[in-house]
């Protein structure tokens, strides 16, 4: 597979916990190589002495009163669960 970037789609997809078919991996590799090539233009920008902006409008230390409020019951929280029993989410065995 001809790659023009360091991105290894199959490896990164595994990190992101997304199973890809071989066909998907091949198409995504090409498409994302194109996108990464496009974003190379950021190297031309002079960013010396520029502070990174995480938000357009920084907003610090936003607090609210730690007061109880009505929210989901356990039953409501479980109502969309794909598998549940005894008030719990059921998943495959995690520990041996």
């Amino acid at each position: 597979m001809a790659k023009t970037s360091d991105l290894d789609v199959t490896y990164v997809a595994r990190l992101a916990r997304i199973n890809l078919t071989e066909a998907e991996a091949k198409v995504f590799q090409k498409q994302l190589d194109d996108v990464l090539q496009y974003v190379e233009k950021l190297r031309q920008a002079d960013v010396s002495d520029v502070e990174p902006a995480a938000h357009a409008r920084p907003n610090f230390n936003v607090f609210r009163e730690d007061a109880p409020r009505d929210w989901f019951t356990a039953e409501q929280a479980l109502s969309d669960a794909p598998r549940k029993a005894n008030g719990l989410f059921i998943v495959p065995k995690v520990v041996e």
Binding site: D6, L7, V9, V12, A13, R14, L15, A16, R17, I18, N19, L20, T21, E24, V27, F28, Q31, L32, D34, V35, L36, Y38, V39, K41, L42, R43, A45, V47, V50, E51, P52, A53, A54, H55, A56, R57, N59, V62, R64, E65, W71, F72, Q76, A77, S79, D80, A81, P82, R83, F89, V91, P92, K93, V94
Partner: protein, 492 residues
């Protein structure tokens, strides 16, 4: 006023009819239901309708409230209690919202009735609504074309008179671009102006909820209802909220409008350019002063966006793991198999691509080159706008470089699709507000395709942007034009 004419009303006119008791909220809802039944087979704007619950709301609606008895369509990425919230994704196909988003709570408090959920690009990732895993939405002006995206269902519904107004979300242009392509008004408020509690998160430093409507006044009316502080969203700004509708006027004397020289780029459609030039002349004749400005960092906006938005999405969408809600792959061997197959089968192609790209740009060894650098260039973009707004009140540009493109035309090439957002994306990076208003038509293959004028304003300057947009809109007839499909139903 017959039942057939009702859906064509603007939200403001509907509200006046309701207040004068010339029509009841129930009759309005029934008229809308009838319209959707006829038109939505062709358009495909809605993913779900909850007309029974809406009818009960209509029967007890207080029409003296600001939006009393007015049905409002909701993009299917905003939680409405008891209704589906699919985000147009297979992974949330069976999900039902257990609570109301703050904007829904506020709409209800103002008397509005959220009755249906509209189609979108899966998790709001796209510019044509073709990334929906549910259905195709067609442009009411030409059924072979896209309505824009990601709020394409909301835009098409309003354009085809299947809604009096709708909510959308805008992360890189997802309200303004579909509004432009569908020939309606779309307004993106300042980052933090409207609470996002209950909006399914895509890119948290960029997402903002806003209205899609037939007129600027209608957007102002919805903004009056949904704007304001919310202790449940730490990014929601705690600032006073003016009466946006009361501030509207008709002249532009003393208004300084900036034309960014970088925005008249190659690749901009000739008919779009001609319409924008004419709009600039029109605004000048209303008294506005036109000033050329420069936003040199604009050329980096799309590159910055596709690094930051995908990085944030890769973290936000980690919550879809098949454990607590949504789709789960069958017979998982172990947890890794459960996660990998659930997400592999549950997400569509564009969502997978963006999560992979976002994971990559955040990964060790690449973080500085991509993510950190993009954040620094974002700061340059923010500074460009701050400098421009020292001299001007609003920036003018097209909302989209081209009119609506053909279904299927850009799906195979994500980068081409990304370039559709070239004029809208920078506003999200800078956190400022903006609007798209109809400003003309392009004639393509015998169809009239709408063109949108974008006005951008500085942070928290919503009232001024709405006032300028309204003055321009009211001096033209563009907003009165209706797509053939809506006109045909009214005449039938």
């Amino acid at each position: 006023m017959t039942e057939q004419d009702l859906p064509a009303l603007t939200l403001a006119d509907l509200q006046a009819f309701l207040r004068r008791r010339e029509v009841s909220p129930r009759e309005v809802l029934e008229a809308l239901r009838a319209r959707i039944e006829v038109v939505d087979r062709e358009i495909g704007a809605y993913l779900s309708l909850d007309m029974d619950a809406a009818a009960k709301e209509a029967d007890k609606a207080n029409v003296d409230l600001p939006l009393g008895g007015v049905p409002v369509a909701i993009k299917d990425i905003i939680n409405v209690m008891g209704q589906p919230c699919t985000c147009a994704s297979k992974i949330l196909q069976a999900y039902r919202a257990g609570y109301d988003a703050t904007v829904i709570r506020k709409l209800r408090a103002a008397g509005a009735i959220p009755f249906g959920k509209t189609n979108l690009d899966e998790f709001a990732m796209g510019s044509s609504t073709e990334n929906s895993s549910m259905k195709l939405t067609r442009n009411p002006w030409d059924l072979s074309r896209v309505p824009g995206g990601s709020s394409g269902g909301s835009a098409a519904a309003v354009a085809a008179d299947e809604a009096f107004g709708a909510l959308g979300s805008d992360t890189g242009g997802s309200i303004r671009q579909p509004a432009a392509l569908s020939g309606i008004v779309g307004f993106k408020p300042t980052y933090g102006r409207v609470s996002r509690f209950g909006l399914v998160a895509f890119a948290s430093s960029l997402d903002q909820i806003g209205p899609l409507t037939k007129t600027v006044r209608d957007s102002a009316l919805i903004m009056n209802a949904i704007t304001g502080h919310d202790p449940q969203d730490t990014t929601a700004l705690n600032e006073p909220v003016p009466d946006y509708a009361a501030g509207l006027g008709n002249d532009l004397r003393g208004v300084r409008l900036g034309l960014p020289k970088e925005y008249m780029i190659e690749g901009i459609d000739a008919q779009v350019k001609a319409a924008i030039d004419a709009a600039v002349k029109q605004m000048s004749s209303l008294g506005a002063e036109i000033v050329e400005v420069s936003l040199p960092a604009t050329e980096y906006a799309i590159a910055v966006y596709y690094i930051l938005a995908t990085a944030e999405a890769s973290a936000n969408l980690a919550r879809f793991d098949g454990v607590r809600y949504g789709y789960r792959a069958e017979n998982p061997r172990d947890m890794l198999d459960l996660y990998g197959r659930t997400r592999g089968e549950g997400f569509g192609a564009e969502v997978k691509r963006r999560i992979i790209l976002g994971t990559y740009v955040l990964s060790s060894g690449y973080y500085d080159a991509y993510y950190l650098r993009a954040q620094k260039v974002r700061e340059l973009i923010r500074q460009d706008f701050a400098r421009a707004f020292e001299k001007i009140d609003a920036l003018i540009s097209p909302a989209s470089p081209v009119p609506a493109f053909k279904l299927g035309e850009r799906v195979a090439d994500p980068l081409q699709m990304y370039l559709a957002d070239i004029f809208t994306i920078a506003a999200n990076l800078a956190g400022i507000c903006g609007i798209s208003v109809p400003c003309g038509f392009a004639e393509v293959d015998g169809h009239r395709l709408p063109i949108g004028l974008q006005l951008l304003g500085k942070a928290l300057d919503e009232a001024r942007i709405l006032r300028i947009a309204h003055a321009y809109e009211q001096s033209t007839d563009w907003h009165k034009a209706r797509p053939p499909i809506a006109a045909a139903v009214s005449k039938a």
